[in-house]
Amino acid sequence: MRRLHALLSSDRAVGLLFIAPFVVTAIVFMVYPVVEAIRMAFYSYNPLRPDLSAFVGIANFEFLFSDPLFWDSLWQATVWTLLSILFQTILGVGIAMLLHRALFGMAFFRGLLLFPYIVPTVVIALIWRWIFNPEIGVVNYSLLASGIIREPVYWLSTPTMAMASTIMLNVWKYTPFVVICVLARLQTVPLELYDAAKVDGAGFIRRFIDVTLPQLREVLIVVIVFRTIWTFNKFEEIYLLTKGGPGTSTFNLAVYSFEQSMASLRLGVGAATGVVMMIMLLIGSIVYLRITKFGEEVR
């Protein structure tokens, strides 16, 4: 009894008490689903016949690795992730540098910037389906009217164009995130560094390479890691825009997992896909952070 009293009156106990709600929530909503998903990856589980659920060892993974669609999805997920990240990083840095200049009206654009990031993906995907509609979409209309193209482009109904469209959507929606991170960092770059480089004789491009980029290094590493994880796992943008089609040409692993679980009712295979994705991202992130020596730079 006395010991309990002592424990409760100590600072440590009070601290534990304060974080307890978060820990409980985290366990219920974060740890439990992950553990459950991992467990499920080793079970055969049909939601219509839960009573038949059984431990199957690595059978789900064997199924996965022998399914050509899994490998296609993995390849497409990689292409979609790499190209999305590449374009939004380049665009993001470029736009951030433009906005960083104290030009008239830039405050307005800075406000506008968040728009794509705020609007729900469902709304955006629906609007984009309209915009890219071959017959009545505004994109084709403009391109035709200005004479850039002669024939309507079938944006979402050929494999290449569908993939390009999903990448465009992702770039459009998440470039603002890159811009905001980069802009925040740009504002802390000491101006005297640019002055020093000017006096040393560096032109605009050299100043970008030798002053701006090194300062952006850390923020870009972080942005790229997070954007890669989020994009690789992304489901709703692809599914809402193309449903993974035409055919399976825009399947990524998230869409594949969804289709296995919901359409084919192979929840175990779906969960196994999730486990594979998790492991790949984990290994990828660690290797990437090692290569870039993140955090090792002495400031």
Partner: protein
Amino acid sequence: MEVRLERINKRFGAVQILKDIDLVFPSRKFVTLLGPSGCGKTTLLRMIAGLEDITAGKIWFGERVVNELAPRDRNIAMVFQSYALYPQMTVRRNLGYGLRVRGTPVSEIDTAVERVARILEIDHLLERKPAQLSGGQRQRVALGRAMVRKPDIFLMDEPLSNLDAKLRVTMRGELRRFHLDLNATTIYVTHDQLEAMTMSDLIAVMHHGVVQQYGTPAEIYSKPANLFVAGFIGSPPMNFLEGEISNRRFLVGDGSLPLPALQVEANAQKAVLGVRPQDLSRAPAAGQDTITGTISLVELLGSEKLVEVQLQNRKRMSIQLRADAFVEMGALFHLRFDPQRLHLFDKESGNIIPASN
């Protein structure tokens, strides 16, 4: 190379920062821009470097107007207050950067970098990054980066202000030595009058964007042109007494003091009398030419003693005496003024009322 400023003006929006600056920096001299914080020193230096637009006026380098010339084409070097070293580059690469950008052959860069590193005694630090250096070492690297290119004009913006007091004194001497070695015109910005006095050939005292006085350290110290310069230069600061000129005497409160002959004799003119603590002495007894007060504070400065005397009109004067002088708090003190060591200023304009000699 001689640098000449001709009616230089600078405005940021509606705010006038620099007004009609006319200055000549003679070739190979060490000239200091001295003034309190915010008076426009950095702005002026940046204009000379080409980093800041010129609102009006001309800047000449020798026979050439450089108003439109980019910084890289001015053959200047600049040391920044924060040093502005490139954090991701080693000291070696920092030093060589200016040469590398200009496409100098690698072997030449190496030779130049190593020569400068030897002079500045930083050759053992060449492979380190700026973050791994102490403040003083960073400062040397910044200096080195400026020296490598053999500039015509060497610009320095408070390069010592981030160093501790002792290192600052050492570096003053070294900067002066580098200046002599470098053979470049040096323009040095500081708000520290001691730095200015000890290092410069010429000092331009600035206040509110206007040059208050331009001259050698000795001139500025012994013949301050106005109240601002008189109060800004010298440590401890000059004492000021308000009063009136009358029959070659200065009437202050209940006393009066003898004045030197003035170039234009003035009578019944309101004036401010300035006298440095070092130029006051102690009279054994009250007399015609003394003022009496009581000792209100004694500070031992080491080799000197700073005594504060409160006059009858509650005005306080400080006097610098030898450390072994006997003074007692609360005792009477008779101040003796040397007429040759007084400075008289017009109360209205603050300008000096020159003595005839």
